[in-house]
């Protein structure tokens, strides 16, 4: 965080000097949202508050110069009634994009997403997960980066220099959806003596050939997914310490479209976090358009995720089958609903996920997000979430 507070004014001065004219005649957009989370069961751990309500704000300032180069600033803040760890501030984006010919250079805090599957985001590695936001892993912290993109007829090369590491956020003592022994992020450990200042590197090649989209990359640096080490405090209280290893990860994502079918595959090979291991996630999405001439679309999703580490995996998806139903009404309100079911194939754990949204008027969006954890096995990494079934409603105003 101290790095960020230093980075911010430097960036600001830099932008003013580099682009003095009309640097502040851009556009502002974003949202402000009120959110409530209702938990169906009482908390499992002492100190946890049962429900929570929160407010979030994410404005964005964007300016584009005539050359096509641009400046983006997108801060984010949430204030949460229950968990001080969920009350947090982040800079999602603060960067300048130079549009050269034929290259693009982005310097600053940015966000990059890689991947194709619906339930698991295996290959996505540049940005750290903002876990206090949502357990689905789709909310990310801003990542300081220098990103050079070279597009060519034979594909796109992306080079990343990542000079500063962001720690994963975890729910605190009072928050739901947390581990049994609490995580003490103040004692975070790194394999690299440079700690969060280790310079991470990544290179990615991606291309589209006919019906096929694919990308392959290599990442070398601080792993985004920590190993949680169990420690015993002075009073005999157990707690967990996040340990970030130096890893090398090679990843592949492939997507093919054939008529109404989309086929998806993500695969990684990671070394540096215990023994080298392989993990993959893949499946299909079949979309039925305009079902019964109703104008509605219905998508069927089937995915399978596998992690060679089995019980030692740092994710919950070591051998899991996922089935989903995506329903888009195609109405003026853009109403949509996704229902997902996850079955652990090694154990009896399963989970149900519901996600949907609907617009009201031109600026209001109501979203629903619900999870149920059923029959969770004691060995499962999500065992501590077994009583955290919840329903989340969010009302957002977009401007």
């Amino acid at each position: 965080m101290r790095q960020l507070t230093l980075f911010l004014p430097i960036m600001f001065v830099f932008v003013c000097v580099a682009f003095p004219s009309r640097a502040f005649a851009g556009e502002i957009s974003g949202y402000v949202a009120a959110e409530g989370r209702y938990f169906f069961n009482g908390p499992l751990f002492s100190g946890q508050k049962r429900h929570d309500a929160s407010l979030a704000l994410q404005p964005e300032y964007y300016h584009q110069w005539g050359s096509g180069s641009s400046f983006t600033f997108e801060p984010f803040a949430r204030v949460d009634s229950a968990d001080p760890e969920r009350t947090h501030f982040d800079i999602r984006e603060l960067n300048v994009l130079w549009l050269g010919d034929p290259w693009e250079l982005r310097i600053g805090i940015g966000k990059v997403f890689w991947g194709v599957t619906e339930f698991v985001h295996l290959v996505d590695i540049i940005n750290q997960t903002d876990l206090v936001e949502n357990i689905n892993g789709e909310d990310k912290l801003g990542q300081p980066m220098i990103n050079l993109t070279v597009p060519a007829d034979w594909g796109v090369i992306d080079l990343f220099v990542l000079p500063y590491f962001r720690e994963r956020t975890f729910p605190g003592h009072k928050g739901r959806l947390r581990s049994g022994p609490e995580i003490d992020a103040d004692r975070t450990l790194y394999e690299s003596p440079a700690k969060e200042h280790h310079i991470d590197l990544a290179i990615r090649y991606s291309h589209t050939i006919g019906d096929w989209d694919f990308g392959i990359y290599n990442f070398n640096g601080t792993g985004r997914e920590p190993t949680l080490l169990l420690r015993i405090g002075p009073g005999g209280n157990p707690f967990l310490v996040p340990y970030y290893e130096q890893i090398n990860q090679t990843g592949l994502d492939v997507q093919a479209v054939k008529g109404n079918w989309l086929y998806k595959l993500e695969a990684i090979y990671r070394t540096g976090q215990g023994e080298g291991f392989f993990a993959d996630a893949g499946g299909f999405e079949y979309t039925m358009t305009n079902i019964l001439s109703s104008g509605m679309d219905l998508g069927l999703i089937g995915e399978w995720a596998y992690d060679e580490r089995g019980d030692k995996a740092t994710t919950a998806f070591q051998n899991d089958l996922m089935l989903g139903l995506r329903w888009a009404l195609n109405d003026a309100a853009s109403s949509n609903l996704l229902v997902g079911f996850i079955q652990d194939l090694d154990r009896h754990s399963r989970a149900l996920k519901v996600k949907g949204s609907r617009r009201f008027g031109d600026n209001w969006l109501l979203s629903l997000d619900a999870w149920a954890f059923l029959n969770v096995s004691r060995e499962d990494i999500i065992y501590s979430l077994r009583d955290d079934d919840y329903l989340q409603l969010q009302v957002a105003y977009y401007f």
């Binding site: 997403f113 796109v156 997507q255």
Partner: protein, 265 residues
């Protein structure tokens, strides 16, 4: 065997005496040549940009408006590339739809979701699906390549005080199209599309599209200011209002790539 050869000779005779095929071909050829002439007159603009208001109305007259920008790049020897960017509703601001039209086979389509910075491939079987909740389907908004249909000239008639060709067109991709046929009215003088009747897969009238406010750009290219689509079966309608047409803006191939979606605003 004997009977078979008799049938064969009989059919040969019929074919020679009544050259039905030749006569039936004429309306098809005329339909195709009209379609080619429309295409010829529309070609050569290079690239264009336009602002569009999409006004959706339900049967109770409640309306909702989307603000959209469209960029198009002409591709020699294949269908156009287009990029559709949403400015409103605000929750989908920055959402972009990239479409590579192909003369033959399925189009390539991607959707960019700015909140996740995610580019999603869209299955090509979605032709008949609604484009962003409007009465326009993906196939209605896609670039009009001659090869996507077969044609048949039906008759000439007056429409809105203009001499018109009435041409029926039939989608080549029968499996994924939402239509059995489309009846089009084209003015004889300038070869502009004035009206389209869309017939659904049961061959009943589904939608009617009318074009109005045609203006000439660069002394050559006719563009409508308004396109109005009515769905006769649901009572819903969508009006597209175009403004600020620009041509030859210097857009290049690299502005229409999956990678370029990430810098859309």
């Amino acid at each position: 065997m004997k009977r078979l050869s008799r049938v064969f000779i009989l059919s040969l005779l019929i074919a020679f005496i009544f050259p039905a095929g030749l006569h039936a071909d004429a309306p098809e050829e005329k339909g195709l040549s009209i379609a080619r002439e429309i295409d010829r007159r529309e070609s050569g603009y290079g690239d264009s940009t336009v602002k569009m208001l999409m006004i959706l109305r339900n049967r109770h007259g409640q309306k909702s408006i989307r603000k959209i920008r469209i960029r198009t790049l002409e591709v020699k020897g294949d269908g156009d590339k287009s990029l559709t960017i949403f400015d409103s509703p605000r929750d989908v601001k920055g959402t972009a739809f990239l479409n590579f039209t192909h003369k033959f086979g399925d189009d390539d389509q991607w959707l960019y979701l700015p909140a996740l910075k995610r580019v999603k491939r869209i299955s090509a079987g979605n032709k008949s699906g609604s484009f962003m909740g409007s009465e326009f389907s993906y196939e209605d908004i896609a670039s009009r390549e001659v090869e996507k249909y077969t044609y048949r000239w039906i008759r000439d008639e007056m429409y809105n005080g203009q001499e018109c060709f009435v041409v029926e067109r039939y989608p080549v991709d029968k499996k994924n199209s939402g239509y059995t046929r489309q009846v089009t009215w084209i003015d004889k003088k300038e070869y502009r599309l004035l009206k389209v009747d869309y017939y659904d897969r049961k061959d009943s009238l589904l939608k009617t599209l009318t074009f109005s406010g045609y203006k000439k750009y660069l002394g050559r290219y006719w563009r409508a200011d308004e396109m109005y689509m009515v769905n006769h079966q649901t009572g819903k309608s969508t009006k597209l209002v175009f403004s600020d047409y620009r041509f030859g803006t210097g857009l290049k191939k690299r502005d229409f790539t999956k990678n370029s979606l990430k810098r859309i605003h």
